[in-house]
Amino acid sequence: MALLEIKDLHASVADKPILKGINLTIKPGEVHAIMGPNGSGKSTLSNVLAGNEAYVKTAGQVLFDGQDIDDLAAHERACAGMFLAFQYPVEIAGISNMYFLKAAVNAVRKYQGKDQLDAMDFLDMVEDKKKIVKIRDDLLERAVNSGFSGGEKKRNEIFQMAMLEPKLGILDETDSGLDIDALRIVADGVNALRSPDRGFLVITHYQRLLDYIVPDHVHVLVHGQIVKSGGKELALELEDEGYASWVDEKGA
C-alpha cells in the first residue's frame, strides 16, 4: 500500500488557487524530492498535507497510510505518523524543548495505543536520538526554538523527527539558510532515519541538498502543477538549466 497518495489535489490560500491538480504517490522506503521556483506552491503542498488551516484544500483526495486526511485533524495526522520539518520553526517561550518533546512523544504514543514514557525512558530515548543530529544538551533545555540560530532550529526539527519516529517525513525547504556544514549534519540526520518502512518528501529550491539526501524520484513543481518527474538525474538537469523554460512556457 502506498504511504501517501495525492490525487488531483487543488488548494488555495486566502481564496487564491495555488495548487492546481497535484498527483503523487510515495511508497514506504522512498524518498521523493519536489523542486520548484519561488511561488510554485511547494510550501502550500506541505502545509495542506499537514493540515494548516490557513491553507484550504478545494478538490482532490489525499490518502495517508490508507486514511483520507480530510478525516484527520492536524494533530491526528501527526499522531498517525506524518511529520513536517518546518521551514520557519516557531518559538514557544517558557517551555523547554525537552518538556515539549516529552508531551509530543506521549501524545503520539497515546494515539497509537502505546504506554506513556516516564521520565527515565524518555531520557534514554533522548540520549539515543541526539547522536543522530549531534544536538547540544543546552539546546534541549532551552525554550523551544528560542534564541536558536537558523541552523540550530533546523537541526532541532530533525531531532524532533527522530524522536517522533514518523512514517512520513516532509522536509519543507530544510536547506534554506543553512551553511554547508549545517546542511551536511541535517542531511546525515535524515539519511540515518531512512528505512524501508519510512518515506520522505523533500521540498527544496536548490539541487544542493539532494547531493546529500539522494532521492529516488524528483518532481518539478511549477505554477501549482507537477510538470516533470524523473529520477535523481532530473535534479542535476535543473541545476544546469534552471526553471526558466517552464516558467516562461507557463507564463506565456
Binding site: A50, G51, N52, E53, A54, A73, A74, H75, R77, A78, C79, F83, L84, F86, P89, V90, I92, A93, G94, I95, F100, L101, A103, A104, V105, A107, V108, Y111, A143, Q160, L164
Partner: protein
Amino acid sequence: MKIEDEKSFDELTDKEYKYGFVTDIESDSLPPGLNEDIVRAISKRKNEPEWLTEFRLKAYRHWLTLEEPKWAKVEFPPVDYQALSYYSAPKQKIDAPKSLDDVDPELLATYEKLGIPLGEQEVLAGVANVAVDAVFDSVSVATTFKKNLEELGIIFGSFSEAVKDHPELVKKYLGTVVPYKDNYYATLNSAVFSDGSFCYIPKGVKCPMELSTYFRINAANTGQFERTLLIADDDAKVSYLEGCTAPQRDENQLHAAVVELVAHENAQIKYSTVQNWYPGDKDGKGGIYNFVTKRGHCRGNNSKISWTQVETGSAITWKYPSCILKGDNSVGEFYSVAVTNNLQQADTGTKMIHIGKNTKSTIISKGISAGKAQNSYRGMVKVVETAENARNFSQCDSMLIGDQCGAHTFPYIDVSNPTAQVEHEATTTKIGEDQIFYCNQRGLDTEEAVTMIVNGFCKEVFRELPMEFAVEAQKLLGISLEGSVG
C-alpha cells in the same frame, strides 16, 4: 478542522465548574440587611470584646458616607447591600470544635471533595506538608497541626479564636495596614467581617511548614467577608497559601476580604493565592464579585513581602495586593497571573510604596484574556522623598486568545526622589495560529497546545509558587481556558 473546533467548544459549554456543588448543611444565618443592629449582632454572636464592637461600628458609620468606587475597568449592575445576609455559619453540635472529631462529618466530606487535607494522618503520610485553616461561609471550621505549631510559639488559627485567646495581638495590629477608612469594600469588611485566619510567627522562628487557609462560600445570598492578619516578628519567616472555591449559583455573590501582613525587621512573608471562585456561566450569569483589599507592611529594616497570585475564577476581580516598603532595604514583590475567559472581568495589579532607603520592588504581571473577557493591569509605583536609591522593575505582559477580548494596562508612576530607578516594560501578544499549528503538527491537540503556550507565558510567575500549588495552578489554567480557541 472546523468540526473539531465546534466539538471542543461544546465540550466547554458542557464542562461544569468542578467545585460547583452545594453542601446540604443547616446554617445559623442572620436575616438579610445591614444596619447597626446587624453589626452588633455579628459581634455578639462572636462574643467579641467591646473595643472590637466599636471598631466595627466606627467602620459601619464611615461606610455609610462612602460610595462604591467607579474607577476600575469593570461593569456590573449595582449590588443591593440590603439584600445580602452578613453572617452564615454551619450549625455545630457544640460551639467550637476542639478537634476534627467534633467537626460535622458533612463539612469534612466537603473539604475532602475539594481535595483539602484536613485529616492530619493524610498529611503525615506525606500527602503535603501544609497546615490548613478551613473557612466555611463565615466561620473557621478546622485548623490542622495547631499543636505542632504551638510548640514553636506560632499562633495559627481562626480570627475569632485569636480575638479570644490573643486579644492584645489582634488589637495591636488590626487595621494598622488596612485602616477601616481605607476604601469602600475594606470599610464594609471592617464592619461585618466574620472570620478568617490569624497568624503570628514569633521572633527568630522559621515556620517549618506551609500555612494555608481554604475559603469556601456555601450559603446562598451571603456575602463573605473574611479578615486575615499575619504578623512575622523580627527574623521570622513564613510561607502562606490561600485557596478559594464556591458553589455554582445563578446569583452573583459578594466576597470582600481584607488581608493585612506585617513584616518586622529581617522578617520574610511569602503569600500565595490560587483564586478559583465560581466565574459564572458562559453567558455571564452568576459568579463571585471578588472585591479584595490585600496589603503588606514591610515595617522593619531588611524585611520582605512577596505576593504571588493566580486568579482564574470570579465574575469580577478587583484586587491590588500591595506593599508598603517602610523599613530600609525592604523588598516587595508581586507576581501575578490573571486569566479571564467568557464574560469575566479582572482589574488587578499592585501598589508598591517606597518609603525606606534602598527599598526594592519587582512586579511581574501576566494577563490572559479569552472569549469576551476584559483583563486590566492597574499598578502604582510610588517613591516618596525619603526613599533614597529606591528601585523598581515592572513587567506587564498580556496575551489575547481570540479577537473579542481585551487587555489593558494602567501603570501609575509617582517618583519624588531623584535617586530612584523605575523601569516599566509592557507587551501584548496574540496567541499565534502558527504556534498552535506547530504544536498540532507535533501531535498535541489545540487545547493542549493553548495550555502549553499559556503555561510557558506564565512560567516566571508559576516558579514562584510552592510546588504543589504550581502543579494545581497549571491544571487550573488548562480548565479555565478550555474551548477558548475555535
